[in-house]
């Protein structure tokens, strides 16, 4: 079975983003970019399935700017076999990405598509579910365990009340949650090897997909600031403050 893993280039999780003074967006110049952390988990899961002999090939795809090439190289260094880069200018919404992925799925015919549950830039949490809808496939979202058999996959999902398990017919879409696995760091030899792995360059036009955004961002602002309060010296002082503020009786 072939596994397709979409990966997104995003602002690194450790960067504290700043809103631009003109409210047109957030500051992206000279900011560290990385693979979306959930996508690292997806790549790791696919590579592990290949190492177990369940998957035969891991194909990674990124939709984004030319620099998303680096994100694909990271995935290839983790053990993916080849990449597809769909270059777009400007932000691409989840729906458009899902449409592009649906076309790629039609060409590649994977048994599983494993995506991150959300990207930590737009926090949309949509692409996997949308892709499953467009393909008419089952979806196992927010996965903390993925167990494929010959024609089904069992997915344990992190839900509000705890965990639930669903069984999906293959082919299917899975989106990953934090506790599915701990992604590996690529070793230096594997980083070198990844340089020789193929990446196909594509554009949305190659797939006949209209990626015109449906949403316009009118402005981006700072959230209401919360000012630091005070340090209390003792437990008694804390209790007194809480009683005075009325939150405890």
């Amino acid at each position: 079975m072939k596994i397709l893993v979409p990966v997104k280039r995003v602002v690194d999780a450790n960067v504290k983003v700043r809103v631009k003074p003109d409210q047109s967006g957030v500051e992206l110049a000279n900011v560290k970019m990385s693979m979306n952390p959930f996508d690292e988990i997806s790549v790791e899961e696919a590579v592990r399935l290949k190492e177990k002999g369940v998957a035969t090939e891991v194909v990674v795809v990124s939709v984004g700017p030319a620099q998303a090439q680096e994100t694909l190289r990271t995935a290839l260094a983790m053990g993916a076999d080849r990449g597809i880069l769909v270059t777009t200018d400007g932000p691409t919404e989840s729906l458009a990405v899902a449409k592009l992925l649906a076309k790629i799925v039609a060409e590649e015919a994977p048994g599983l598509v494993i995506l991150g549950k959300q990207a930590i830039d737009d926090d949309a949490n949509q692409t996997g579910q949308m892709l499953a809808a467009l393909l008419g496939w089952g979806q196992g979202t927010f996965a903390s365990k993925v167990e494929p058999t010959a024609d089904t996959v069992s997915v344990t999902r992190e839900i509000d009340g705890g965990l639930e398990t669903v069984e999906l017919k293959l082919p299917a879409v899975v989106t990953t949650d934090l506790r599915l696995n701990e992604p590996r760091y690529a070793s230096l030899p594997n980083i070198m090897k990844a340089k020789a792995k193929p990446i196909a360059n594509k554009t949305p036009a190659d797939y006949g997909v209209d990626v015109t955004p449906r949403l316009t961002t009118l402005k981006v602002t700072e959230p209401p600031k919360r000012s630091a309060g005070i340090k209390v010296k003792t437990v008694d002082e804390l209790i007194e403050k809480l009683k005075n503020s009325g939150v405890i009786a």
């Binding site: 729906l95 398990t165 449906r214 602002t221 939150v247 405890i248």
Partner: protein
């Protein structure tokens, strides 16, 4: 505008997240004087539908009662909603794990770009929503004829659960799509309040060091305060507490009257889930910990002595 709200329920009862979503739906419907309807898709869900009919401001309840909808499988429920959407201008779903699973599938079927986790309705086509773990708020305008929206519960007050008397109308969809089946659930059972609805939350972090320490230090304080128990990702990853305790960007978003963070450093991703709490208390031995930058009251010291003292003095 006529707006359809996806109810959050367990067949027997309606969940409060529905009430927050109804408030957002009312704001949206208000722009053109339309109605708010609620869809209860489930199995043996008459009781949940009856509860939805009593919500203030709800004009009609649609009840899709079918074995295929009993476990809220997105593969089965999304086509039902996409079909019903023909008669509405918008779908509003709570941004719960269920709403997040189903709504985007509906959006794609309807060829609509979803607007996730809205914080406010600015106009019939304009909304605010958090991006970058809530470090920025985007105001977005949708060009789609229909809207598919999920609602951040903490941003909208609950609609009154009583006062309405809507009719309940049976609807049906195509049932089982044959793509997925429900195998079972391991739900966390607790006598404590639910995290997202709790007035007080006591959360523990990596510093606790074990599940036993949660039981020994966090639970008694929570019980004294009638509080729910939450946790940082580090505490969940380490297996001290179940996954559904996680507060943060990729866990639960909470805004209680009082949030007590114990042995939690205050990473961006954790703050994203709790910084709208009314009063924040932090107990941490590192006086430089970022959590103190958002805490109203900070107590610097060892949690293993301070927390038992606090519990005993309350």
């Amino acid at each position: 505008m006529s707006v359809l709200v996806l109810a959050e329920h367990d067949n027997a009862s309606l969940k409060d997240a529905t009430l927050n979503a109804v408030t957002a739906a009312k704001a949206l419907a208000g722009f053109a004087g339309g109605d708010v309807h609620v869809l209860v898709a489930g199995k043996g869900a008459q009781a949940a539908a009856d509860a939805a009919a009593k919500i203030d401001g709800v004009a009609k309840v649609l009840l899709a009662d079918d074995a295929a909808y009993g476990d809220a499988l997105a593969e089965n429920v999304a086509p039902l909603i996409a079909g019903l959407l023909a008669g509405y201008d918008a779908l509003v779903a709570p941004a719960t794990s269920r709403g997040k699973n189903i709504a985007p599938r509906v959006a794609a079927l309807a060829d609509v770009a979803q607007i996730s986790e809205i914080l406010s309705v600015e106009a019939a086509d304009t909304f605010t929503r958090p991006i970058y773990a809530g470090n920025a708020i985007a105001t977005v305008k949708s060009a789609d004829a229909k809207k598919v929206i999920t609602v951040r519960g903490t941003a909208f007050p609950k609609a009154a659960a009583t006062g309405g008397s809507a009719a309940v109308e049976a609807v049906s969809g195509s049932g089982d799509a044959g793509l997925s089946s429900f195998k079972g659930a391991e739900l966390t059972v607790s006598a404590r309040p639910e995290l997202t609805g709790a007035k007080i939350i006591v959360s523990g972090g990596r510093a606790l060091g074990s599940g036993e320490a949660f039981t020994q230090y966090i639970d008694p304080l929570a019980d004294k305060l009638g509080a729910a128990v939450g946790a940082s990702r580090a505490a969940v990853d380490a297996g001290y507490v179940p996954n559904d305790y996680q507060v943060g960007q990729t866990g639960k978003i909470v805004a209680p009257e009082l949030y007590v963070a114990i042995g939690i450093s205050g990473a961006i991703q954790h703050l994203a889930g709790m910084k709208d709490s009314k009063v924040i208390v932090a107990i941490n031995k590192d006086e430089e910990a970022p959590i103190f930058q958002v805490a109203d009251y900070g107590l610097v010291g060892d949690l293993f002595t301070l927390v038992p003292e606090l519990t005993s003095k309350l």
